[in-house]
């Protein structure tokens, strides 16, 4: 399937650029500029179907335009009675059979691709598996085989399939990575599996695509695709984290104390503890965004700790910790921001 429609793709992208002033969307977010296997297969089908359908549309419009101008009632012809035609067998067979053929041209690659993308993990392969849990309104990523936990930012190696096993802890969510793959629903009663494969390093936007409550539109996540070597390094670093490590600055040390005094620690795990009531904060200092949507500045973090409800309505953090002053929030922020256990950060992916 790959590549044989390259020319159409160029035409299509040019066309959509002309139509949409802002081009075809933000790189690493748009489905029109695929960077992964699944998104590529989807785009090929999108283009194939557009080509077929534009052909049909043009045929309809040519007939339509001709009919309208040719057969519009002219002055003085008000009393003319046109010939009453019942139908035409040949024509009717033509416009039944040709669409069937066109649809077969689309149906065959659709069926092939459907089975292709549903391909399971080969027996005995050592491909990476990640357990993804959808929660109102954040994502948890658990690398069970590697004993590593993370939230919001999913690190994967490029160039290989990563199998993600999805389940929800509350309502239905949907895991959508437009530039890498299509989406799949995250259901509360069964585990859904799909594979994602990023072809280039980069930080890719992910979104929740199924209405899941007030902050549904704010349930973003990121996929950080790094080279396999960098990924191995990241895993090693994450495994070696000491959750009890004392921070360097005094403010951060106080922040660490406050982190447990104020009750943060009862929901937020550090290290590879599988507790996942709230997001795992092991590598919080390297996050691409805070709370999925805020730029990673200290100011934003303090705002979030002080009043998460105003930023993400309906979140489960609000009201579940002791009240903090702005000064205390600032210290907790200092503590969280220095949690950077790995040298491998999203910048490594973006710099490529």
């Amino acid at each position: 399937m790959k590549g044989w429609m390259g020319k159409f793709r160029v035409l299509f992208i040019l066309g959509s650029t002309a139509l949409v002033l802002s081009g075809c969307g933000l790189e690493n977010l748009t489905a029109l500029d695929p960077k992964g296997y699944g998104a590529q297969v989807s785009l090929d089908l999108i283009i194939l179907s557009i080509v077929i359908m534009v052909f049909v549309f043009l045929v309809v419009m040519v007939i339509y335009t001709f009919v309208f101008f040719r057969f519009r009632q002219k002055k003085g012809q008000e009393d003319v009675i046109p010939k009453q035609v019942e139908g035409n067998k040949v024509l009717e067979v033509i416009w039944t059979v040709i669409p069937i053929i066109l649809l077969l041209i689309l149906a065959v690659p659709t069926v092939t691709a459907t089975f292709d993308l549903a391909e399971g993990q080969p027996e005995g392969s050592d491909l990476l598996n990640v357990n993804v849990t959808g929660n109102q309104y954040w994502w948890n990523f658990s690398y069970d085989d590697l004993d590593v936990q993370t939230s919001q930012d999913l690190y994967i190696p490029t160039g290989e399939r990563v199998y993600i096993d999805m389940k929800s802890s509350d309502v239905i969510h949907s895991f959508w990575l437009p530039s890498i793959s299509g989406k799949m629903d995250v259901n509360p009663e069964n585990e859904n599996t799909m594979f994602i494969e990023a072809q280039e390093e980069g930080v890719y936007w992910g979104k929740c695509a199924e209405l899941c409550g007030p902050s549904h539109s704010l349930m973003d996540f990121r996929v950080v695709a790094v080279s396999p070597d960098e990924f191995d390094q990241w895993v090693t670093d994450m495994k070696n984290v000491d959750p009890e490590a004392e921070p360097e600055t005094a403010s951060a040390q106080e922040g660490k104390q406050l982190f447990s005094d104020k009750g943060c620690i009862s929901c937020h795990a550090l290290g590879s503890s599988p507790t996942a009531i709230g997001p795992n904060l092991t590598s919080f200092g390297s996050r691409t965004k805070f709370a999925g949507i805020l730029d990673p500045t200290k100011e934003n973090l303090v705002d979030w700790i002080m009043d998460p409800e105003s930023i993400k309505p309906g979140n489960k953090m609000t009201g579940n910790y002791k009240e903090v002053t702005e000064e205390e929030a600032s210290k907790i922020a200092d503590y969280l921001l220095q949690l950077e256990p790995s040298e491998i950060t999203p910048e490594d992916a973006e710099s490529e």
Binding site: S16, L21, S22, C24, G25, L26, L29, T30, A31, S42, L43, L45, I46, S49, I50, M53, V56, F57, V60, M61, I63, Y64, V67, F68, F71, Q73, V80, P82, E86, G87, T96, P99, L106, T110, V111, T114, L117, A118, V171, I172, W176, P178, G182, K183, M184, N187, E189, K207, C208, A209, E210, L211, C212, G213, P214, S215, H216, S217, L218, P313
Partner: protein, 618 residues
Amino acid sequence: MSTAIAQKQGFGAILWDYLTTVDHKKIAHLYLFGGGFFFIIGGLEAMIIRIQLIKPANDFVSAGFYNELLTMHGTTMIFFAAMPFIFALMNAVVPLQIGARDVAFPFLNALGFWLFLAGGLILNASWLLGGAPDAGWTAYAPLSTTSPGHGVDFYVLGLQISGAGTLIGGINFLVTIVNMRAPGMTYMRMPLFTWTIFVTSALILFAFPALTVGLFLMMFDRLFGSAFFNPDMGGNTIIWEHLFWIFGHPEVYILILPAFGVFSEVIPTFSKKRLFGYTAMVFATVLIGFLGFMVWAHHMFTVGLGPAANAIFAVATMAIAVPTGVKIFNWLFTMWGGSIRVTTAMLWALGFIPTFTLGGMTGVMLASAVADYQYQDSYFVVAHFHYVIVGGVIFGIFASLHYWWPKMFGKMLNEKLGKLTFWTFFIGFHLTFFIQHFLGLMGMPRRTWTYLPGQGLDNGNLISTIGAFLMAFGVIVFFYNVVYTAIKGEKVSNDPWDGRTLEWTIASPPPHYNFKQIPLVRGLDALWVEKMEGNKNLMPSEPLDDIHMPNSSILPFVMSLGLFIASFGFIYQVDDLRWLIVLIGGMLITFGAMFVRSVKDDHGHHIHKEDLEKGDGL
């Protein structure tokens, strides 16, 4: 004419007349104005949604309120605007087109309307009583079953009651069309609009029970502590999705087939040609209706049903494009060789063809399961279903209103205002929704309260909102047109458009009994056949005699009122058991009215031959 008499009797008499009427023509008026009322509410909700999305990170409305808006917009527009408009047309036109004096069950017809109205009022009462439902019009569990407050309870009860009304209406029209056609009107001589209503009624009969079952399960989950959709207790949320879409997909065809029927009347009339390929059109309608039940899982490609299910439903969905394409080409070739008059009704039909073709195109694109992994739940889908539901159903309703308004009310809608409505609505529509295909592919999920700046979504959303204002302007002009016509419109004759079917053989608006003598049908386009033979009207199939008509009754209204009251008992008994009194009281009213209906004989009345001979029979 009864309206004229009612006007002399004052407002109270008119109100009582409409509360008790079992006349299909007046029930059509009720459906039309009920639907129009909810259409305004749903439209206002849409405008607030578009204002919220006009710029990134906007906070015009809160996130929770936004979810209520999008839920109510979808639910209102489908169940309480589009459906009643379809029922208004069915009531106004079908009995006239088949040469009948009323529907088979006039009492049930009235009951169907009052149940619809009760359901719509219950749903919208939620705005005033602590918050509207907020789980989307699809109400996926567990979001819906765990949604706090009573919003979703109003959704469940409102849809359940109006759904019963719809089911009653569907059965009524099936029976009417099977049994009450005038002599000579064989199935293959029925006007295509009647055919589409026939198929639509059959779809209602088979599709709505799935919704009824789903809503009952959800009602028990929310109000009585069961766990059908609670995975923690062994329930399953996917069952709701299946039940909803087994109803939900045929629902799309329930709406669009009557619109196809409208265009199949409007295009021949204003091309002065019989419908091209009538037989193929009938079979295409039946086939679309049949296939409509085979494709529901294409709404669930990303649920994880597996590649085999996805592949089967993908191919089945693509198959629907074939009969739909047949229809488009038949309409084009109806115009071919004709003499096209561009009236407002025809303008809507001409706007419909390219618009709906685009909607059908994206429909086929969505059918390709793997491509759908990208489209699903994105703005691409939002664009698609507005292209088919607005571009198909709403365009069809506008066309039909301009076409049949003279028959329903005896006055022509103003053509100039009608054309202004068309052009602003048509341009506004494409401005609003075309760009949304691209927004979806650029990564904008549907039902999104806001989007962050810097995602390349800003311009598209701005354009979309501007388009929405243009559409709103068009709708306002239309409502102005209705008022203007009521006051200043010119009275029309029986047959203002040079029509082809039976409804144009009688007065506009028709007398209470429709046909003084039931006509004898001698072919497809019965009136046209006579015109071509130089006859002014159809031959009667019976001698002039007494006409048997049903009596008016307040009971349908009372039954619906009882259910309306009982709903609040159902909803609030969760908080306080004393509400059970309201529940029981309401049910007693309903059952009491049913009892009275059952034991009291009502043989209707006769309009006497002598009165008919005297003139208008009144």
